[in-house]
Amino acid sequence: MTNPPQAKIDIDSYEAGFLLGLYERMVQIREFEEGVKFLFLEGTMPGTIHQCQGQEACAVGVCTALEPTDWITSTFRGHGHALAKGLSVDEMLFELFGAATGCAGGKGGSMHMVNMDKGMIPSIAIVAGGVPVAAGMALAFKMQQTGQVAACFFGDGAIAEGAFHEGVNMAAIWDVPVVFICENNQYGASTHVSKVMRAATIAERLSSYGIDGRRIDGNDVIAVYEAARRAVDDCRAGRGPAFLELLTYRRTGHSRRDACHYQPKPEREQWLEYDPIVRLGQALVEAGHATTEELDAVRKQILTSFDDAVERAKTQPQPTLADLTTHVLA
């Protein structure tokens, strides 16, 4: 069940501008994650991090299928979702630096990225905690007939939680517009998904809720986008909820100092070959939409602006002690 996907990315029906946009957003996430990893390890930033290198196609493919007025819920591994939903590098970096100018004023941190103007409630760092919340957001959309959709990100680890089953079931019996997105990166902390589930796929378990779960190649941004597009369209047409299992791989540690000694080396190497950014880049070059040099330039441009953002982050004001007890109540 965990063999890496083999199919070539099929980009034939898309224009170069759209594809390069996907590429750029995935590189943005990759370089953000690599950059903050370095900043954490050198001790520049406080706290802890849970990273998503290698899973960029999930965040970008899904969020590209959403409208700005749609909403997402995320998890402790949420930087990619936040960037893909439109949060800026600045507001996120400032938050990681604990600054008063961060997206949560320094009170949220890595695991609670938020921007209520951009359709992202605070990431919920309790596993599966966002599943019933997303069902409730979608219930609100349905009751008010707003036409909005909620997209709920979580990992394979969430599938064993009661909150997952309760939330998915209620979304199903009420037909609410929510797309559940399981990023199956195959590891819940250090435990492989096969150790916590007897079924062959997560997707097939959804039939017990009357939901047509589908497993998608989560490292193929086009496949993810197309599946998410269908799911979002279904939800908007009143045929929700929908469920996508995006098969991918967690190449980083669970959190910052985890060296992943429990991941077999051949498995890691095999999955590294299916890097979602490399795969799209190759397709772009083969189709003549971009040269390797042009793709490198995209990366360099992103790196430069990230470095600039880090310099700005270092000089942002920290909250004062007067902020300690504010915002406890609305």
């Binding site: 909403w71 819920t73 961060g102 997206c103 949560a104 004023g105 320094g106 009170k107 949220g108 609670h112 938020v114 921007n115 209520m116 409630i121 605070p122 919920i124 309790i126 905690g129 599943v131 019933p132 919340v133 997303a134 069902a135 409730g136 957001m137 979608a138 219930l139 609100a140 959309f141 009751m143 008010q144 909620a150 009661g162 909150a163 089953h165 309760e166 939330g167 079931n169 209620m170 019996i173 009420w174 504010t326 915002h327 406890v328 109540l329 609305a330």
Partner: protein, 344 residues
């Protein structure tokens, strides 16, 4: 169609029903979410509070599966998107199932978003020992008063229930309302034996009550007795009998448990010099401990006598009536504590 005019003398169950009805009519964003609340011919929730509302609001009475963690999360999500859900559990004991959504999400969203999020969620929970054994009986207040971001109130009269429910619905924060099974005045098959009359004359028109204020139920100069829910009533009964013995007790219904109204309580204790806190629930780690500590910190030597707590033993709630009766504080125990303190 039921009428919007609230009957003059009503029970807590009727008062809550009337208040919910009026709030749903006033604001289309208000809706109810819970188990067995919207079944035609059904119960109207475990204690008849929402009886018949599904006929009037067929799209806003959302009947849930038995899934407390899930539907409290649904309430959080809907509230984040601007709705004003009223979520209830059949028995307060089931709040433990929903604990993650209440404590980690509802209560923290505002703070951890730097003030961007509001969670206008009303939660209702019946508590109290009523012949149902250990798991349909606990007083849950203690578990929630130390959760920043959550307002916790306890209603002991029909008048309060109406004003507090309405205030909670209009508040932008999560508010947990505790209600007592023996005080509802539920009728028919849902009537409780041993019930206490908590009905009130309800004035015409709309009113709200503050969510942070205790109520002085009886004035006196000799001792302050603080209770809430059932024990607010027991304290008043004890005070009536203490008067026969020449002791004038001031009775305070704490009403707001988070925040605790220390201004009202301390002013009374400064006057009387004595404080007895009556709590249904184990003495250890109870709300009474927080009240006692808070009053001590604030008044120091100005309280003449030591503070007493009349509470349950540190045991689960027993079933058999002889033991359950010994678990719940009663009038003789309250009187004994007061008399010991006054004469000691």
């Amino acid at each position: 169609m039921t009428t919007t005019t609230t009957p003059k003398r009503v029970s807590i169950a009727e008062s809550l029903r009337g208040a919910i009805t009026e709030e749903m009519e006033r604001d289309p964003k208000v809706f109810c979410l819970g188990e067995d609340i919207a079944v035609p011919g059904g119960w109207g929730g475990a204690f008849t509070v929402t009886l018949g509302l599904e006929e009037r609001f067929p799209d806003r009475m959302i009947n849930t599966p038995i899934a407390e963690l899930g539907f409290f999360g649904v309430g959080v999500g809907a509230a984040l998107m601007g709705m004003r859900p009223i979520v209830d559990v059949q028995y307060g004991d089931f709040l433990f199932l929903a604990m993650d959504q209440i404590v980690n999400n509802a209560a923290k969203m505002c703070y951890m978003s730097g003030g961007q999020c509001k969670v206008p969620l009303v939660m209702r929970a019946p508590v109290g020992a009523t012949g149902r054994g250990s798991q349909h009986a606990q007083n849950l207040e203690r578990y929630f008063i130390g959760v920043p971001g959550l307002k916790v109130v306890a209603v002991s009269t029909a008048y309060d229930a109406r004003g507090i429910l309405k205030a909670a619905v209009r508040d932008d924060n999560p508010v947990l309302i505790f209600e007592h099974k023996l005080l509802y005045g539920s009728k028919g098959a849902r009537a409780e034996s041993g019930a206490i009359d908590a009905s009130s004359e309800i004035p015409e028109g709309d009113y709200v009550l503050p969510l942070d204020q205790a109520a002085i139920r009886r004035e006196g100069n000799d001792v302050t007795i603080v209770g809430w829910l059932l024990t607010a009533h027991l304290a008043q009964q004890a005070a009536d009998r203490l008067a026969d013995e020449g002791v004038q007790a001031e009775v305070i219904d704490a009403r707001s448990l988070s925040p605790i109204d220390f201004a009202t309580i301390c002013a009374s204790v400064e006057k009387t010099g004595r404080l007895v806190i009556v709590e249904e629930g184990p003495k250890t780690g109870g709300v009474g401990a927080e009240i006692a500590a808070g009053v001590t910190e604030r008044l120091g030597d100005r309280a003449r006598a030591s503070i007493r707590r009349v509470a349950s033993a540190d045991i689960p709630v027993p079933f058999t009536p002889v033991l359950e009766n010994a678990y719940v504080p009663d009038v003789p125990r309250i009187m004994a504590a007061v008399l010991d303190m006054v004469k000691g």
